[in-house]
Symmetry: C2
Subunit: 410 residues, 2 copies
C-alpha cells in the first residue's frame, strides 16, 4: 500500500478523491500497489462529506508521518504551496502538483531538490489539464529535438474567441456570457490578459530547452483588444484568431510569445474550439504532432494528477529524469523574430494603398463587408522591430494582429 | 554506454541509425547513458555506406554478445522476427519493435517473457508511427478507464479518401496516384482492405482491455467499395468518409471494428487529412482527447523506435508494467452493436420512401446533384443484426456505410 496525502480540497482536490474512488481498481493495478488517501489537508471542515475523517488542518501531520510517500499539492498559488512542497520533498516524499504558478516560478529548484533525494516532482496537470503534454515531452518524444511548440493553452479565452468567430459576438458580450457560464472568473485578468497561458508556455519552454525560462521574460498580449471587426477580416482571409502561446527554436535561441494570432484553415490548431486546449509540436525527426483534450475542468485535471501519482508510485525512490536546470535561458528579443502582420488602417484602401506600400512594401489588401472608413492589409514577412519602425510612419493604424504560419519542413 | 543492435537495415532500420546519428547528444542525455549501435543485422551488404562496418549476417553474433542490452527489431513480418525476438529476450536483452504484425500475433507472449526476466518489449512505432499512443495508454492515461479508442490508423487509405473527398476523384484514380507517389504499394491489399488498421486496433484493444484481442476476430471492411458517389452524399450530409478502426467498451465487453464510416464536421477526426494519422480516446475521467501526427514515414517511425530505446536504456533490468495478459477476450458480436446507417437505394425517393420507411422506420432522405436513379437514406439507430435483417427486405440496395457518432458523455 502507498499512502498519499492531498493538500487542498477544492475543485481539483475533490476531483482527485473522486478519480481514485471511481477507478481505484485499475489505478492500483497500473501502479502495482494500492493507492490509499490517508490525509486531506484543508483549513475547512466538511462535516457532510465522507472525506471529513481524513481531513487534517496542520501540514505537519503529513510531513511528520513516515507512511506518507506521495503528496498531492492542489492548493494553487505560490504560498504556502511553495513552502509546503519544499518541506515535503525534504522529508523524503514525492510531490505531484497542478499548480502552474508554482511550477513556472520554482520548478527548477523543486525538481533539483527531488532529484538530489531520488524523489519525484511531477506536474502534468499544470499545463493543458488532461492533455499529457508534459509526459509526452519528457518520456515520449525523447528522440527528437523539439523545434516548435505552439499551444492553445487557455480554455476560457478559446471559448470566447470561438464564440466571437462563430457567432459574430463582440468581446464584452462573450466575456459576460463566459462569466455567467462559469467559464470565466469575475476577475478574468489572468485568462484574458494571457498571464495563465504565459506561465504554461514558460513551463513548456523550460522543458524543451532544459533551462529556466522566466515567465516575466515572455512577451505577453491578451485578447482584450480583439473585436468582432477583427474576426470579420480573419474570416475574409480564410483564417481565425486564436490566443497562441508559442516557443520556437532559432539556432541555440528560443523565441517565446503569447499573443492573439491569425491562423489559416490548414493549421492543425484552426479547429480547436470552445474550452478545448491543444498543443502542436514540431520535432526535427518526428515532424508535426498535435495533442488535444480538455485543458481544464475538475475530472480531466484530476485524471492528470492521478496519472502522476501512479507514475510516482511506480518510481518510489527512483528519480524520473527531467531536463530542467536552474541556469537561466535568455530568450531571443521579440524585435528579432519574423512574421507577417495583419494591420487595420483607417481611411480608404484605394487612396492610401500607395502610401502604405511605400512604407511596408507590397501588401495584400483586404476589406470586410459593412466595414467602412477602414481597410486591412497583410504585410510580407518582416521582423517585429522592422514592423514597429515602419508602422510608426503610418497614421491611423487601428489594430495589428500577428499571422502564425507553420514553420517550413526542415 | 549501452550497446544496441538493429535487426533489419530497411527503411525504418536506416531511419533509426539516422535519428541516433543526428540527435545523439540529446538522446544520450535523456537516456542517461550513451547509446551505441554495435551491430546491424541484414542479409545484404552496404559497401558504400559507413554502416557496413557494423553489418553482421548472423543473428547469433548479437544473441551471444553479452554487451548487447537492447535489440531493435525492424525486420517486419512474423518469421524470422518472432524467433529472433524470443531468442533475444531469452538471452536477457530488451527488445524494441515497429512490427505490428508480430505484436498483434504474439505480443502477449513476448511481453510475458520480458516480464518474467525483468526486461522490456516495447512497440510504440507499431501503431500510429510517430504518434505516442502506446505510451499514452500505458503511462499517461493511467487514471482512466478508456471507454473508446477510435483511430485513423492507416495513412495510405486516409490519403486516398482525402483525395476522393476534396477532389471528387474516384477510387481507381486515387489508388493509381497513391501508387505513383509511393504512398501505396503495388499490391495495396494490406492497406485498402483494412488489414493493416485491423492489426493496429487489435494491439490497442489488447492494451485497453488488458487481454488478448485476436485480430482475426475483428470485423474488417476496407475502402475498395467507396466511390465518388458515396463522397457526394457524405458532403451533402455535412460529413466525410474515413476508414476508422475503433474499439468501444460496452459494460465488460469490447466492440472492435474496422470499416469506412461517415463522420460529421464536429468529430475530432473529421479534419485529419492526407497521410496523417490520429487517435481519438475517451476516458471516463479525462473525457475526450486526441493524438495526431505522422502515422508512417522513415523518420517519424524511427523517432518512435528510438524513444523506446531511450526508455529501455532508462529501465535496464526493470520491467515497465504493461497490462496485456494472454487470456483471450471475446469481442461483442457485431450484430449486437448499434449505430445509424447511410444506405444508397436505386429508384426514386418519392415513390419508394413509404416502402423503405415501412421497413426501417422513419429515415432522412438525401439526394445528391447529378445522381439520378438512386437516393440515399439515413436510418435511426439500430443494431447491425436488425439492419441486416431489414435491409434484406429491400430491393436495390446499392451500398451501406456506417455513421460514426461520438459517444454521449457519461
Amino acid at each position: 500500500m502507498v499512502n498519499i496525502a492531498v493538500m487542498g480540497y477544492g475543485t481539483v482536490g475533490s476531483g482527485v478523491v473522486e478519480v481514485i474512488n471511481t477507478n481505484g481498481d485499475i489505478i492500483n493495478q497500473r501502479a502495482g500497489n494500492e493507492i490509499n488517501i490517508k490525509y486531506v489537508l484543508d483549513l475547512r471542515d466538511f462535516p457532510d462529506d465522507p472525506i471529513q475523517e481524513k481531513i487534517v488542518h496542520d501540514v505537519d501531520v503529513i510531513i511528520n508521518d513516515p507512511e506518507i510517500k506521495i503528496v498531492v499539492e492542489v492548493m494553487g498559488g505560490i504560498e504556502p504551496a511553495y513552502t509546503f512542497t519544499k518541506r515535503c520533498l525534504e522529508a523524503g516524499k514525492s510531490v505531484v502538483t497542478s499548480n502552474k504558478a508554482l511550477v513556472a516560478k520554482h520548478g527548477a529548484e523543486l525538481l533539483s531538490i527531488a532529484r538530489d533525494r531520488e524523489l519525484n516532482y511531477l506536474f502534468e496537470a499544470s499545463v493543458g489539464g488532461g492533455i499529457p503534454i508534459i509526459r509526452a515531452l519528457n518520456s515520449c518524444l525523447t528522440a527528437d529535438k523539439i523545434e516548435e511548440i505552439t499551444g492553445i493553452l487557455n480554455g476560457t479565452t478559446n471559448y470566447m474567441l470561438s464564440k466571437m468567430f462563430y457567432e459574430g459576438a463582440d468581446y464584452d458580450e462573450v466575456l459576460k456570457e463566459a462569466q455567467d457560464n462559469g467559464y470565466a472568473e469575475r476577475n478574468p485578468e489572468a485568462d484574458v490578459e494571457g498571464y495563465d497561458a504565459c506561465r504554461k508556455i514558460a513551463i513548456l519552454s523550460s522543458l524543451i530547452s532544459g533551462q529556466q525560462v522566466d515567465f516575466e521574460d515572455i512577451y505577453t498580449e491578451g485578447i482584450t483588444k480583439i473585436t468582432k471587426q477583427d474576426m470579420m477580416y480573419a474570416k475574409k482571409l480564410g483564417m481565425t484568431i486564436k490566443l497562441l502561446a508559442s516557443s520556437k527554436r532559432h539556432g541555440d535561441h528560443l523565441h517565446a510569445i503569447v499573443a492573439p494570432a491569425m491562423i489559416s484553415k490548414e493549421h492543425p490548431l484552426y479547429n480547436i474550439n470552445d474550452v478545448f486546449n491543444a498543443v502542436f509540436v514540431h520535432g526535427n525527426m518526428l515532424g508535426d504532432a498535435m495533442f488535444y483534450g480538455s485543458g481544464a475542468g475538475k475530472l480531466p485535471t484530476a485524471s492528470a494528477v492521478v496519472a502522476d501519482v501512479v507514475d510516482e508510485a511506480k518510481h518510489l525512490k527512483r528519480n524520473i529524469m527531467t531536463m530542467w536546470k536552474n541556469e537561466k535561458l535568455t530568450l531571443l528579443p521579440i524585435e528579432d523574430t519574423c512574421k507577417k502582420f495583419f494591420v487595420r488602417i483607417s481611411g480608404d484602401a484605394d487612396s492610401r494603398r500607395e502610401e502604405v506600400e511605400n512604407v511596408f512594401g507590397p501588401v495584400t489588401v483586404v476589406t470586410a463587408d459593412g466595414l467602412n472608413g477602414e481597410f486591412g492589409i497583410v504585410t510580407d514577412v518582416m521582423s517585429e522591430g522592422e514592423y514597429k519602425e515602419k508602422s510608426a510612419q503610418i497614421d491611423g493604424i487601428l489594430h495589428m494582429i500577428r499571422i502564425e504560419e507553420q514553420q517550413a519542413e526542415d
